[in-house]
């Protein structure tokens, strides 16, 4: 088997706070193959964004601290110097953020901002960079790219700005694109445009995508493999079809049950939404046992005492639950 493009091993990202150490990400292991789309889902505070920021080492240290290994094309990113890391950011790994307005510089033209990365990483001349910027805008489906390239971010709509962000991210032909809630701030019809664009670009550009999102609908539409995070840990991982058809972890089941599906009124599935009772536990204290035990309807003393390890529950399907194992054995 070929080496994965990115492999994250036992990643821990902790933050020092006056109230104790916040174990935002506490030992997560996953890999991303070249050209693959992997989604990381979870609710706010589960550590999914911190994971993506840690990959690019965008965590301020201190108060943060990253441990573990992040191997990208065989090199451990955590061992690189700041200078080597800068060469990777925006070049072979790039990132799209949620807020297209705040991630663009308001005083520079769109063309300058796309050209910047090209001039920085590929030493292009200013005129070549502008030509390439127009090409990129055309690639991300912005009409009249020749005119738009001279415009400022405030002259563009939200959807357009997100397209520009994608153009910047793709300018240097990255091998890995990290998209942190790329469509959360957008309206549904614009979201549909951007998701279409991302799918289309993936075919054409071939970059692997790590998609960070809380929206299970978006996951179902674009991801190939899904990682479910809860309280700083990975609780389940499976190919998208298997995860939605046969979720093993009670948290994943709860999550899927708590979103209504469009069309419920017609198929007669109008039952109450499943609730996950309680709240996400504080990450400032060490949790004995399973992180989800406090909210899990099926939790036993065993769950509260002994943390379950990730176990293979089926082909390519892992989950961290003592009782998911029994189910699989019975089935």
């Amino acid at each position: 088997m070929t080496e994965p493009l990115l492999s994250v091993e036992n990643l821990q990202t902790h933050f020092r706070t006056p109230d104790g150490v916040n174990r935002a990400v506490d030992g997560i292991t996953f890999h991303v193959n070249a050209g693959e789309t992997v989604a990381i889902v979870g609710e706010s505070g589960c550590g999914k964004s911190v994971t993506s920021m840690s990959i690019l080492r965008l965590i301020p240290e201190p108060p943060g601290k990253i441990a573990g290994a992040i191997k990208f094309e065989g090199r451990d990113l955590l061992k690189l110097s700041d200078k080597e890391m800068r060469k990777i950011r925006g070049n072979s790994i790039s990132m799209i953020f949620q807020e297209p307005m705040t991630s663009l510089n308001p005083v520079l033209t769109v063309g300058r901002q796309i050209g910047e990365t090209l001039r920085l990483h590929q030493g292009m001349s200013a005129s070549d960079a502008e030509k390439k910027a127009i090409e990129m805008l055309e690639l991300v489906g912005i009409p009249e790219p020749g005119r738009r390239v001279k415009e400022y971010p405030h002259q563009l709509s939200g959807g357009m700005r997100q397209r520009v962000m994608i153009a910047i991210a793709l300018a240097c032909n990255p091998k890995l694109l990290i998209a942190d809630e790329p469509t959360t701030a957008l309206d549904v019809t614009i979201q549909a445009q951007i998701l279409d664009l991302m799918r289309d670009l993936k075919r054409r550009v071939g970059a692997a995508i790590v998609l960070i999102t809380h929206d299970l609908g978006v996951v179902a539409e674009v991801a190939e493999r899904v990682i479910v995070m809860y309280a700083g840990r990975k609780v389940e991982e499976a190919p998208v079809g298997k995860l939605f058809a046969n979720p093993r972890h009670p948290y994943t089941r709860g999550l899927l049950g708590s979103v209504p599906k469009l069309g419920s009124s017609l198929t007669g599935h109008e039952e109450r939404l499943a609730e996950i009772p309680g709240l996400v536990p504080s990450l400032k204290k060490k949790i004995d046992g399973c992180v989800f035990a406090g909210r899990c309807a099926e939790a036993t003393d065993l769950c509260r005492a002994v943390a379950p390890a990730l176990e293979t529950k089926g082909p390519e399907h892992v989950a961290a639950c003592h009782y998911a194992l029994k189910e699989a054995a019975a089935a």
Binding site: I66, A67, D301, V306
Partner: protein, 311 residues
């Protein structure tokens, strides 16, 4: 296989054989013991603690000046003029033979009195004007144009001009600096009021049938106090500097009352040969202003932790 520490009262026999147990993750950072009380406060808000401590020190110096081995700060001793600092005159004597140590300690009274009075007066007046302007468009357009006019004059010039109209006294200094500072405070309050009026909880209060005056006092006023307190510390620091400047140029506190500005003004002529006369009051002024500013920064960070992280 099991390296997990089991919780007390849990029977290891309950663990079925072959159970996959997650290995505990190591600590990446040394554990932090959350602390409450005084130590917790200092650790959470170090700037506020340092600023508060220094300001408290100055306050004690001002209050207990007579008991801190001082002499009469106005007693003349022409024979003992311009003595260097020594065991007898800790900060030396000035050109009239007065003890600089005693004068500097008593001078703290004027500075702190002016600083605190201006901060309180300007805040109260500014709060009133700002809230009324924030709620009434007619008042707003008239009052704010006047304030704009006042703000176009540098506050120090305005204070000098006002002092020129009256007799030099601490009271008049306070009034002059307050008038010069009110426009800035009322602008701030007005801005806060306008943004608070858009807050959903204010709209919810309207929907809950709350009368406008009650909304002003129960919903708007308490929420302006936090930013206003921060602003008040900056006003206080600026007022102490303005007082020193006014006294330095002879337009402030009358010479009979020792104030840091006066002492520096009197030492100015001898700056080249006897620098200590200017040096000690200057150091005290700097420390006090720094203390108040640190306190203000600490307060601001405590009030809006998100802002602190961004800066």
């Amino acid at each position: 296989m099991s390296a997990t520490a089991l919780p007390p009262g849990f029977d290891p026999a309950q663990i079925p054989p072959g159970l996959a147990i997650a290995q505990p993750m190591p600590d990446v950072l040394p554990p932090v013991k959350p602390r409450k009380g005084f130590i917790g406060f200092v650790r959470r808000h170090p700037t506020m603690a340092i600023g508060g401590f220094l300001l408290l020190l100055m306050l004690c110096i001002a209050i207990f000046a007579p008991y801190l081995f001082t002499k009469d700060p106005t007693a003349l001793a022409p024979a003992l003029r311009t003595r260097e600092p020594s065991a007898r005159w800790w900060f030396g004597t000035d050109m009239l033979g007065r003890d600089v140590y005693s004068r500097v300690l008593y001078g703290a009274r004027v500075s702190l009195l002016v600083g605190f009075s201006v901060a309180i007066l300007a805040s109260v007046i500014g709060l009133f004007i700002g809230i009324v302007a924030g709620f009434n468009r007619v008042v707003d357009s008239i009052v704010m144009r006047v304030m704009d006019g006042l703000m176009s004059i540098p506050s120090i010039l305005l204070a000098i001009a006002l002092m020129a109209l009256t007799r030099g006294s601490v009271q008049n200094v306070i009034i002059a600096i307050t008038i010069a500072d009110v426009p800035r405070v009322s602008r701030l309050v007005r801005g806060v009021v306008l943004s608070l009026r858009e807050q959903p909880y204010v709209e919810a209060a309207v929907a809950a049938g709350t009368r406008t005056p009650v909304i002003m006092f129960k919903h708007i006023l308490p929420n302006t106090l936090a930013p206003l307190t921060v602003q008040a510390t900056y006003v206080c620091a600026a007022a102490m500097i303005t007082e020193a400047i006014l006294s330095f140029i002879g337009a402030g506190t009358p010479p009979i009352i020792p104030s840091w500005g006066n002492i520096m003004a009197e030492g100015r002529a001898l700056w080249q040969v006897k620098p200590y006369i200017v040096f000690f009051p200057a150091i005290f002024l700097s420390i006090t202003v720094l203390a108040v500013n640190l306190l203000g920064d600490g307060l601001r960070d405590a009030i809006d932790p998100r802002l602190a992280k961004r800066l």
